[in-house]
């Protein structure tokens, strides 16, 4: 058994969901995402590793394979891929039934967007003063490299969570190269890889 699998199995086994009533669950979901909103640097993808940690390891909303599935669905669906937060919220609320799952999904999405939206409104209204400020220059140039490091860490984390067999990893690396070298829509990659999965060439 490859070490990645062992890690995933250990995570799944050690994760005991907190006992909360349905409203408590909803508040937990919303509080979690409210607190993370202002840390979504570089367009929000920097938060994916943290989403994984919270929803799979800490709160046990999802199994690792489910997290990977939801990431793929959010990437495939039209619209901003950061809407994955809605799907995570839905996973958190699913044990309480579809109605709560939907409520939890909307709650999660509103929670992750609200603080960054408010900050963005303030930023737009004061942009003329901010533009020349040394704070802005330092923020932009200083946080850029950190964002770069986080994005690489996120890529590795998602690859670990996908946890496919060797052909699957080859497909992942190939898609990575094609994403960088061509302008082919990623939907094609997902469709082809989905076909390979259906025929059993890629499995997990």
């Amino acid at each position: 058994m490859p070490p990645l699998l062992l890690v995933a199995a250990a995570e799944a086994a050690s994760c005991v969901p907190m006992r909360l009533n349905d409203l408590g669950h909803l508040l937990q979901v919303m509080g979690t995402f409210l607190g993370l909103s202002l840390f979504s640097l570089g367009g929000g993808n920097t938060l994916l590793a943290e989403y994984h940690h919270l929803s799979v390891v800490e709160y046990c909303w999802l199994r690792p394979s489910q997290f990977a599935d939801l990431y793929a669905l959010a990437e495939a669906a039209p619209g901003p891929s950061s809407m994955i937060v809605g799907l995570l919220g839905m996973g958190a609320g699913w044990p309480e039934g579809p109605g709560w799952a939907l409520l939890s999904a909307y709650g999660a999405e509103i929670a992750i967007l609200l603080p960054s939206t408010l900050l963005m409104v303030v930023a737009c209204l004061s942009w003329n003063r901010l533009r020349e400020s040394p704070w802005r220059v330092a923020f932009e140039r200083g946080l850029g490299p950190i964002t770069l490091g986080i994005l690489f860490a996120v890529g590795v984390k998602i690859l670990q969570t996908a946890d496919t067999n060797a052909p699957g990893v080859v497909v992942s690396l190939l898609v990575c190269v094609l994403m960088l070298r061509t302008r082919i829509s990623p939907l094609w990659f997902m469709a082809v890889a989905g076909g390979l999965g259906a025929f059993g060439l890629i499995n997990r």
Binding site: G35, A49, A72, T117, I146, M190, G197, G200, N203
Partner: protein
């Protein structure tokens, strides 16, 4: 709300309803990708709400501040004309259709994901999605090629997260200020220190 000093080419500033429908159009047009190109086409070229320069400023602000870029862009357009209510109207227009669709997909997923056939297809899709995630860092790597300090910062960040399992929030709170101090603009500005925001 005062009108921005608009050049003659721009149309009247949109109301809340127009902001909502405008962003709805952007979101619908962008099914399949190219969201920021579509928002430029609709907001600048078709509806003439903004000049191209104002739009590009919006992209800069949207990328700089936390939050998803495209969503921040909607917030910028809304705020530009109608402040906070405008931001919320634009945001609702941008998200209404894609989010509703995603919720449908999510409900189907949680209902049926244990079906073996679906799980097998998803295993393949997940492999492709992992490749997309892996490409995100490489996409912006070029900007930092000539800056060894930036590469070192990125490498340390990567190692801390991947091998030492340092969490995002403490990492950003410690490394962020250090990096900002290093990159603080050195050349002293002429004149007295102007009133800084905050």
């Amino acid at each position: 709300m005062t009108d921005p000093p608009a050049p003659a080419a721009t149309a009247a500033p949109p109301g809340l309803g127009q902001l909502f429908t405008g962003m709805l159009m952007v979101a619908l047009s962008a099914f399949g990708g190219g969201l920021s190109a579509w928002s430029q086409r609709i907001i600048v070229e078709q509806r003439r709400w903004m000049s191209n320069e104002e739009f590009l400023t919006g992209l800069t602000v949207a990328r700089l501040f936390p939050g998803p870029n495209q969503i921040n862009m909607a917030v910028y357009v809304g705020t530009f004309f109608r402040g906070l209510p405008g931001a919320l109207a634009a945001l609702a227009g941008m998200l209404l259709v894609p989010f509703t669709l995603l919720m449908g997909i999510g409900l189907l997923y949680f209902q049926f994901h244990s079906l073996p056939a679906l799980d097998r297809v998803l295993a393949g899709v997940v492999a492709a999605a992992a490749g997309m995630a892996l490409s995100m860092g490489f996409k912006i790597l070029d900007e930092y090629r000539k800056d060894p300090v930036a590469l070192l910062l990125a490498a340390v960040t990567f190692v801390l997260m991947t091998f030492f399992h340092v969490r995002l929030v403490p990492l950003v709170l410690v490394a962020g200020p250090l990096a900002m101090a290093w990159y603080w603009p050195r050349r002293s500005q002429p004149g007295p220190p102007a009133g800084e925001p905050r």
